[in-house]
Symmetry: D2
Subunit: 347 residues, 4 copies
């Protein structure tokens, strides 16, 4: 093993540069060489290389985003895509690819390994922590940190004005950020895809707070939750199908605003919505994410050095290991134990 | 001078509790007594008192919001409002009122002093820094700190995806937060009420960046800016009259989204909007704001102890002083020197 | 199960109040009652009770330290100590004790359960993460966060002046904080009790950096490491036996300064020492620690509600569980996998 | 004016890179050119140039330290020093020098201008805020922010253990950091060069707290304060002459430890010392410091563009201006108004 190519694909995430840095350190230590690919798999097909000697990754631990750029480019769906990739590997003497990305990237990588014999190692990446096969992904702790800090700040303004504040956080398919930030920030109600709570349920929780003399509340909602009025009228109950209007100008507003409006109507309490948006996915990673990213990078480099392809590095039960790329599909939702603990807190 | 009543009114602001704490410390030192009024002037008219001995303000330095609550209650517009206030003062033996609030509160306070002879000292409060008569208000530095941190985070995600990100910050009438956070965060374009920039101007600035190889941009917009397409067609040009849809569910979206949409159409570059909202006005104050709030509190207490009423404490040219409440009206916009420096940076 | 008493013992730690809050929430939910004991087991023997209704723990999630105070009081070594505790439980109708503390507290608790039949549940607490039986302890992530931020700041000043900066962090018996902060902060050398590195080894690593053109270095040392000059002269080599002079005014300086002095002599490079000290163990817990503390609190409350005594709640392999108090003794040092990854990074 | 050389000298400081960035932006805008000098004036004498086009300063706003390095090199004291500088300017076509440094650098710069006719503009730099001629220096707000955060963290550990914690902060000649951080953090006693407090005075203040039921205290001490036992025995009273043992391994301990020891002896209360050290002077600048540094940079560039030499840019009474370098000597101590407010708080 002499030369490895690294790419980042999909949405950006704090810790991507730390993974790259760790791979460079490990290969430097092993006497190998690392080259970066610009814009995901596109950089392989189009041979957009960036040499990555040790000096090039100085400062990468603390830098958010990815210095390589990203794309959703899928060589298996492009004309001559796989062939161009194979030729690039051969011509450049690249012995392995480390692909850092989400489930879409893992899916592409699996096809490249199993159908086309390319030497790929996967590294899971998502701030949402919803990728199957690993317990934790880097970027998630940073997103939770940012969302928790927001709740800490929102609490004082909500309390000063006896308001409800609804905070919409990321999580299109699973409620990991909402649950963790909500638990860490002491949210009073949480709406996530995993639990079929309705506006009526949340209003009931807030009424209980009012009865205890608490005149303000913080509600956290994952962008992908389904908003229903109550459970009794299944036909007419859907107020919002999830998804944030903030990110793509749908103009109808996202679920955070829909929920704020519904609560204001239901409870006749002054209500505000805050949509954190991209602030959750940028900037300096937390120490936890830097370590996780670094150790994923080392683990992936080890796989490449050993010539083990077709796996995704993973953290399972506290141990760094690999899982077959073929097993990485679907959505990892929040586990029942965490949900149970969460519900016990929402009194 | 034996007993002073303190109230907070208008929107909440980091540092309010620090002002209260400083007043309590100063009166404790002078052998006097402090009582808090709940919900602004309403707490005076309705005699909602909260005794504030030294022990009651422990921890107040770092606590955002206001422990007294706020309202927009105006005794001069309520039946028997002024009379009830006067009677409350007499019955409780209160010798002075310290009113912490924005220009509306200063306006009420001025009427109470000049038309009704009540003993009021004003303390300026606004995260927007746009109150006339003082150079700086507490809460502003915290808001700028939060907005700057957001820009720091957004920069890496914008750079990773070659995107434009529009950050909408508070500032309904003046661009102080946008200008300071934009300068501190290195924004590439800034839209504020004070400058009549158009979508065309901002697009031109971004095109200059593209020409220099910078494929991403951060644009900061104050919520109250006027959004116009370009300067050539004054009739049809207004895209948004300012104001944030985020806060009040207008459903049309705020200026941040309108600007993002316009830039995406104009430049055909992937664009996102982030609306910081109430995160800017809550939470632990910065050290700068704690000091400013503390010194305003001491200055106000000194006025009350000396029996000087009808003034608002102020920081002018680096010196703590007072200005007549009668002079506190209108909007303090960003000074020309700052705007000039800002424009020099936006290359 | 109707009434539980909670105590905190040993050194303070971010997250203690969050554990207490979670226990109060869980018992409130179950219709039970919680009483706090002042100053650890002393509060039981001396009946220093603090009622803890739901309202009493408002704001506890973000508050560092412990609202109950702590001590090292051991009822089994005090005259009539156990009898006084037993009588207090009976007289107050307390059905269970939840003891939050380190290995000393777990040791006391074990004796109280097995030798005296008292109903105790243990919760592990140490910022050092070195307690046996659980993978992670709350407070540790906050300590690592603080130490990592320090490294981030020290890096720029070291680089500006071509200096070596030695950062001494906590860790009397194990190097967890040093290893995690060092990995997250990108330290260039790390000295911990687990690895027998010498001044000569560290100097060699720094010389390698100099050879690569890096003129500054950050070295992290755990306070409890043994400082030896080199491995060749075992008799005369010990420069410092570990332990920080900072905390107890030994006047000889701690290991951080001893190491800085030795490196300056060895390398003739301007060197500085920074001793973080108690900053590591106070203040607002990170979101990770708030969650860990909260879930430990719920788990302990569950044990008490089920009448299961003699165990310590623990997080093992990602699962919340309990371990027998009898198994909690000794020091949990940093695992070999982490040490191996660390060494691979220190190139 | 076509080409300007920029240098940084003396101790590093958050915001130095932001000054450089602003100068580069301003000259770019004016069609000029900027070159950096490595290691202060040494880089001029030895022609160690670093070209600084716009692209070179990308990311400089948030980067602590100085990318140019620093030194205390004084051309007027080196053989042929001034001649070599003059020749370098002529040969390179450099029209102006912007020297960013402390009072020593301003002193050198004054000599170069008045005695040798070199075209120098000064920019004040010190985290200590004690340079004469300007109200505020960049880096100071960051240092205060770091020290205040430390107090916030130390408070909870002090309170949990009923301890006194002494925090030693920078400030060899003036107490600016101690006073501002102490006021922002709510310290219970502050020892600075400007006020002749003794151990007896501080112990008295702490005894007053004990009498009020407060069993813990935070004391902030500037490294350069003089520590005396009490005022009655002037001969034998000096316990420490100021200066921190931490930074230079004097082995006797700094004033922080000496004060902690003295208070522990005097009050028989468990006491700890924390010495912040270099953490105060590194890392990402606060938004306030970024703005101050940026505007100093623009102001200095304007001076150079106008051909005005011999002045130091300054912020006085809220206005950016210049003062003659000849007026910049001595120490600016904390103003009496601030000290008076501080004393009123220390009840």
């Amino acid at each position: 093993m002499k030369k490895v190519a690294v790419l980042t694909a999909g949405g950006d995430c704090p810790g991507l540069n730390a993974v790259i840095r760790a791979i460079v350190h490990r290969f430097h230590d092993a006497g190998g060489e690392v080259v970066g690919l610009r814009l995901g798999y596109q950089g392989l097909a189009e041979r957009a290389f960036l040499p990555l000697p040790l000096a090039a990754v100085s400062g990468f631990l603390t830098r958010g985003g990815t210095m390589l750029g990203t794309s959703a480019f899928d060589p298996t769906r492009e004309p001559e895509g796989v062939e161009r990739c194979r030729a690039a590997l051969a011509d450049e003497g690249i012995d392995a690819i480390i692909a850092i990305g989400g489930d879409h990237t893992m899916h592409i990588s699996r096809k490249l390994v199993t159908e086309h014999g390319l030497p790929v190692v996967g590294v899971p990446k998502t701030i949402d922590n919803d990728i199957v096969g690993t317990d934790w992904t880097f970027g998630f702790d940073t997103a939770v940190h940012v969302a928790t800090e927001a709740i800490d700040r929102l609490r004082t303004t909500a309390a000063s004005h006896d308001r409800i504040i609804v905070l919409e956080v990321m999580g299109a398919d699973a409620g990991w950020i909402a649950v963790h930030a909500g638990m860490a920030g002491g949210a009073d109600a949480i709406l996530i895809p995993e639990l079929s709570l309705t506006v009526a349920d949340i209003a009931a929780a807030i009424r209980k707070r009012h009865a205890r003399g608490k005149r303000f509340s913080i509600v956290v909602v994952a962008e992908g939750a389904l908003l229903r009025r109550d459970a009794d009228d299944p036909g007419a109950q859907v107020l919002h199908e999830g998804g944030s209007g903030r990110y793509h100008f749908r103009r109808l507003g996202g679920i955070g605003e829909a929920l704020a409006l519904a609560l204001e109507e239901e409870l006749q309490v002054d209500t505000r919505a805050v949509v954190l948006g991209h602030v959750q996915r940028g900037g300096i990673p937390t120490s936890t994410d830097r370590i996780l990213a670094t150790r994923y990078g080392i683990a992936a480099a080890e796989c490449a050095l050993r010539g083990e392809f077709g796996g995704m590095v993973a953290l399972r039960g506290g141990t760094y290991t690999t899982v077959p790329l073929a097993d990485v599909h679907g959505i990892k939702t929040v586990d029942p134990e965490t949900l149970r603990d969460l519900e016990l807190l929402l009194v």
